[in-house]
Amino acid sequence: MKRFILIFSLLLFGAQALMAQKYVSRNGHIWFYSHTPVEDIEAHNRQAASVLNTETGDLVFQVLIKAFTFEKALMQEHFNEKYMESTKYPKATFQGKVSNFEEVDMKKDGTYPVKVAGTLTIHGVAKEVSVDGQIIVAGPELTAKAKFPAKVADYGIEIPSVVRENIAKEVEITVDLAYKKM
């Protein structure tokens, strides 16, 4: 009996570990685009980190605010110092779930439309978001893509009046994460 329980628990433990498949992205690409009649601004971050649990559809990612690069050095400085306050709020995070993950067939290559819902935290302000995206299965690799708008004011980011014409009230965020099995 003792032996049976031991073996049983080991099996259970092992099976769970096997089932809980985790995919990891270390150098994901996240960028945003702000369009106004005066100026187009974009900034790229290629150090986004993400983990996707393909058993449950749980998805998290985080980006370092300071790792966003701009065309103009001064813009990057203002972005960090005045708007995002990256010393105070060094990261933006997302914690959520792919709600229809059961529709993604991990064994079959293809592009699957998905819905992702969760909490997006930017500038220390957490907000529930729900976005449409895609998961692309290609052999052992997974790619997650999404594009969604974010209102600057929703995250408590104040834009001074002198540059109000230059920075859009709503910026477009694009996420492109390439995952490998952990």
Partner: protein, 303 residues
């Protein structure tokens, strides 16, 4: 083995992963993080505190234009329109060659001076993987006085027109609001008017800023002249002002007892006395232009 102890363990194994799934993933993510070096940015709003250079550099490929004005003395009264009747101008350009090397030129009407300088960043304040409590920069500049010779009949050497300035800048951003900088400085003048006056003048400067609003800072800057002829006959320089930042511009409004805008003159020829109201109003207007290559940006933008 005691079964009673095994059961909670089994329960944990069974239920644990489901209960803490998202938090687990977040922990996993944080565990993956590599420690990075976090460099301090925006110690000052621009490349000058007021009269003095700051440890801030023009970024690589960025041209900073500085238009500086210093007016006459405020105590000239209404007749002199509180000094605004006399305007002195310096027009300057600074360029970032690399992240740690800047080159600059300027022209001032006072003594019809041309100046050129090199500024090098030696240390960058940082936290994280590499921790550095201070930023350090070095400035070397040369000024050429191009006034016509006072006495064209004597032998006048071209080298007599030159002055040199060397300055070490040690700065620290203590918090988002407070930044301070120390500046041991040497001015060497190849020719001085009299035998009593020293060629080399040493001074120690201290400057700082307090951020009052995201786009507004209060600045103070003081140079103490080491004892000698210049210290006995001229004044230490004290300047107080504000920075107003608007996108690509920084407006620096300044009250100072110095009227000159080049180190060789304001550190050796300032005779205004704050106590007597010998205060000059002035401003620096800085504007940045992206003039250089965009190699690294284009690479990061690709895809």
């Amino acid at each position: 083995m005691n079964y009673n102890r095994l059961i909670p363990f089994l329960l944990l194994v069974l239920l644990g992963p489901g209960l803490f799934a998202q938090d687990d993933l977040m922990d996993l993510l944080e565990g993956m993080e590599e420690e990075t070096t976090d460099y301090t940015y925006a110690t000052f709003k621009t490349v000058r505190i007021m009269n003095a250079h700051s440890i801030e550099m023009s970024a690589p490929g960025v041209m900073t234009m500085i238009i500086s004005h210093r007016f006459g003395r405020v105590n000239g009264g209404a007749y002199e329109f509180f000094g605004l009747d006399q305007a002195n101008l310096r027009l300057g350009f600074e360029y970032g060659i690399t992240p740690w090397l800047n080159i600059g030129i300027g022209r001032t009407n006072i003594q019809k001076t041309y100046d050129g300088f090199l500024k090098a960043k030696l240390l960058r304040q940082s936290t994280g993987k590499r921790t550095m409590p201070i930023s350090v920069a070095w400035l070397s500049s040369t000024q050429v006085n191009t006034l016509e010779w006072a006495d064209p009949d004597r032998e006048n050497l071209a080298s007599s027109r030159l002055s040199y300035v060397h300055q070490l800048m040690i700065g620290r951003k203590f918090s988002d609001r407070l930044s301070l900088q120390l500046m041991p400085t040497m001015v060497h003048r190849n020719l001085v008017p009299t035998n009593e006056e020293e060629n080399d003048v040493f001074s120690i400067g201290a400057g700082g800023r307090v951020k009052l609003l995201p786009s507004l800072t209060l600045n103070v800057e003081y140079f103490y002249t080491m004892p000698g002829f210049v210290a006995d006959n001229y004044q230490d320089v004290l300047s107080i002002g504000i920075d107003i930042e608007t996108g690509g511009h920084v407006f620096q409004l300044i009250f100072s007892n110095a009227v000159a805008m080049t180190e060789n003159l304001y550190l050796t020829r300032t005779d205004g006395d704050w106590g007597a109201g010998d205060i000059h109003f002035g401003f620096n207007l800085t504007r940045v232009f992206n003039a250089g290559k965009k190699g690294s940006w284009a690479k990061s933008k690709k895809k």
